[in-house]
Symmetry: C2
Subunit: 127 residues, 2 copies
DNA sequence: TAAGTGTATTAAGTGATTTAATACAATTAT
DNA sequence: ATAATTGTATTAAATCACTTAATACACTTA
């Protein structure tokens, strides 16, 4: 479910946080479903349980999880989290547009590229 | 000319690399102009000369600088570097468009946002 | 000749990350 | 009840990248 990249300079716990964020926001992990236990995921990834614990604490702090002692960690999906991510993406788009403009990418080219990416995305799910 | 952010989690040498990359690509530092000496910049930023040396080595490896022993480091501006950056920006735009789409941002909204960012950028330089 | 340049080396310090070994409380399964 | 599994907390050590420090050497310029 999760694969760690040891060439990545980012810490392991941060990689884990990111992966689960995406899985939760995309709905791959359903709301209120149980997360892998700290120990089992540690075994699966061949890393220390403390590192998993740290990742889970972060996720809980951010509102992606809730914990029941003795039972486990559970997905705390909230539509507001998706909105937050959405806003982050739009903010990134603003910044990127600025940069593109500074480096000589015309609005027309940027728009065309955007449309192409969207078209490619829609192609993906034609099953 | 350069300001370090000690709250930033990224290493100092990396921050320095990024700042000079931008200054060079934007033409603030002219081609073949002399870079601050390793020692003088170290004093100016109150950090160790070795850290500056590391940043400069990176910049040289990437083709932003060239070195003349005993004389100094000089800006090696090459239009191809700007093209490389341009391609990186477009690649980022592709990825971001994909993500935006996955998170329910319509193509219309993304396009509109892009246009607004461009318009804002053009406002900036009305002097 | 002296001062300023880049470069190289060796050593030490620093701090975040990760591992390790336990222990304890709560819940679930047997 | 008892054992197993869960999250959580603590303390200690190991590891690693980053940074500093102190020199030294070769080359260029004033």
């Amino acid at each position: 479910m999760i694969i760690l990249d040891y060439r990545d300079t980012r810490p392991l716990y941060e990689q884990i946080v990111d992966k689960f964020q995406t899985l939760i926001l995309k709905g791959v992990l359903e709301p209120n479903s149980r997360m892998p236990s700290v120990r089992s995921l540690a075994v699966e990834l061949s890393i220390n349980p403390n590192t998993i614990q740290r990742a889970y604490s972060e996720l809980e702090r951010m509102g992606f999880l809730y914990t029941v002692k003795g039972r486990g960690n559970f997905v705390a999906y909230d539509e507001s989290l998706r909105k937050v991510r959405r806003e982050e993406i739009l903010a990134k788009l603003d910044a990127l547009a600025q940069e593109a403009r500074e480096f000589g990418v015309s609005r027309e080219e940027a728009t065309q590229r955007l449309a192409a990416a969207y078209a490619a995305g829609e192609e993906e799910r034609h099953d």
